[in-house]
């Protein structure tokens, strides 16, 4: 199981992946926006997204859970 957490304060601009779907290593899960920059958050292993903890428009803090891949 891999937990994907935020590395910075950001707004969730786009949720690209969906809960329950399969992803490959390097697939884009969500796109964050901070300081006028778009930052794609990528899967770091292949598996199934068992939890997607954020929605578009959410403000997340450093360390917040974004997704769980199993």
């Amino acid at each position: 199981m891999a937990e994907i957490r935020a590395e910075m304060v950001a707004n969730v601009w786009k949720v690209v992946a969906a809960e329950g779907t399969a992803v490959q290593d390097g697939d884009t899960l969500v796109i964050l926006e901070s300081m006028k920059m778009e930052i794609p958050v990528l899967a770091e292993s292949a598996g199934t997204i068992t939890k997607l903890a954020v929605g578009e428009g959410d403000v997340i803090q450093e360390g917040d859970l974004i997704a769980v891949i199993e």
């Binding site: 910075m8 964050l32 006028k36 920059m37 930052i39 794609p40 958050v41 990528l42």
Partner: protein, 456 residues
């Protein structure tokens, strides 16, 4: 007629609002700041003669809210509005509103802003004025099939750009049809989101290019002069990190051609005030092409000020009021070498944003060292705005002296809290590519090949 307005409202934030305020105060002009609720404690607000809160942190509700800014101008009796850069600086509709309200707009005419605002029309206009342009689409490209047809005519790789864009947003390079189709869709959606227009420009990509721009000033008497060039090739994600003047990659004959072309560009649109003509220089052939014109004060204007001794904000204020420049346009001399390093709130390895509360803040000082800062100890760097904390600007009689002073200044600059790219700048100055002066827009990519996406 007085040489400058009595009061000026600065419709911007951070380092540039503070820098404009500094010159205005020196000239005896009353300074009015407008700010979002998030910025209430920043130096540009606390140092102003008057400050008006115009909305919440989100730029759309504050710094892009023209009605709130005009209302603040009316309340405070401001005579003029200086837009800085970004936000409303290149918005011709806002410039017109300012003029219609009977205020002085510190910038070129709305018509000049409009003519240069769209990259495609600007390109065509500049070609008519005799400037070289890269081979590309002469009309807005609205679908991927048309983009592919253009690329096949021009030859891959091509550059994909938002016609109404800026700041590198939506910009990418495509080496083949698949990359072009993917890049086109990304560019189109970002252009729509950030600029409200999905028009795309396809241009030939120049592999080993330097990004060199010319500072121009349109005087009150209608003459346009050029104040030298700035090399802005040190970029990450198509955004500038460091700039210097003179450019180590521009020979005297090339400089003469570029400055002449920039003057013609300004004359073609009846330019008044400070503006910048951006070009790409092919490092191998010494050819250059027009990229775009920025119809406002440029972020990196201080390097030009350091070598010429001319305060560009002062000239903007005087020219907008119909007065002569403070210097003799026929006797401009450039002395020594200047370098600007943009200090960003971002980690120095992957360049990811790092907002937060600033603990310590200690600026370097000394001969030839200037710091234009937007923040100080105790301020909060918000995720709503760009990551520019400060500009470290250094002058020396030679490039070598400027680089040595810059290295020392970096070591003396203390910022705690948000991560900053100061360690990156130290590495840049120590790198062989930068120290040699023989570098191009790929220099940061060479130092940080992996700095791209953000892995979980």
């Amino acid at each position: 007629m007085p040489a400058v307005p009595e009061s000026v409202l600065v419709a911007n934030r951070g380092e540039i609002a503070r820098r404009i305020g500094r010159t205005a105060r020196r000239l005896g002009i009353r300074v009015i700041a407008v700010h979002s609720d998030a910025d209430a404690g920043l130096p540009f607000v606390t140092e102003a003669d008057e400050a008006i809160e115009i909305g919440p942190a989100s730029p759309a509700l504050s710094y892009l809210n023209g009605d709130a800014i005009l209302a603040a101008a009316a309340t405070t009796g401001a005579q003029a509005i200086h837009p800085g850069y970004g936000f409303l600086a290149e918005n011709p509709a806002f410039a017109r509103q300012v003029l219609d309200a009977g205020l002085t707009w510190i910038g070129p005419s709305p018509e000049a802003i409009e003519a240069m605002g769209d990259k495609i029309s600007a390109r065509n206009l500049m070609r008519e004025a005799g400037l070289p342009v890269a081979e590309g689409s002469e009309q807005a490209v609205l679908d991927a099939d048309t983009a592919v047809r253009h690329a096949e005519r021009i030859g891959y790789p091509v550059m994909i750009k938002a016609a109404a864009g800026g700041g590198g947003i939506g910009m990418s390079i495509a080496g083949d049809e698949a990359a072009l189709r993917a890049g086109f869709e990304t560019a189109r959606s970002r252009a729509e989101r950030f600029f409200g227009s999905h028009a795309i420009l396809i241009e030939r990509f120049i592999a080993r290019a330097r990004h060199v721009e010319v500072q121009i000033v349109g005087l009150a008497d209608g003459r346009v002069i050029a104040l030298g060039e700035r090399d802005c090739s040190v970029q990450r994600r198509h955004q500038k990190l460091a700039e210097e003047t003179p450019s180590p990659g521009v020979s005297a004959p090339l400089r003469e051609r570029m400055l002449g072309a920039a003057v013609r560009a300004g004359e073609a649109v009846g330019y008044r005030g400070a503006g910048t003509v951006e070009c790409l220089v092919d490092a191998e052939t010494e050819d250059f092409v027009f990229l775009e014109m920025n119809t406002r004060l440029q972020v990196e204007h201080p390097v030009t000020e350091m070598v010429t001794g001319i305060d560009l904000v002062e000239q903007q204020l005087r020219i907008a009021d119909g007065a002569d420049a403070s210097f003799d346009p026929d006797r401009v001399r450039s002395v020594g070498h200047a370098l600007e390093l943009r200090v960003y709130a971002e980690d120095p390895v992957r360049f990811l944003p790092s907002p937060g509360v600033i603990g310590q803040w200690h600026e370097p000082a000394g001969t030839g060292v200037r710091v234009d800062a937007g923040y100080t100890a105790g301020n909060t760097v918000s995720p709503h705005y760009d990551p520019l904390l400060a500009k470290l600007v250094v002058h020396g009689m030679t490039r070598q002296e400027a680089l040595e002073r810059a290295s020392k200044a970096i070591a003396d600059f203390v910022i705690s809290g948000p991560k900053t790219n100061l360690p990156f700048h130290a590495e840049l100055l120590a790198s062989h590519a930068f120290a040699s002066g023989i570098y191009d827009t790929a220099v940061v990519g060479g130092m940080r090949p992996a700095a791209g996406g953000h892995r979980g």
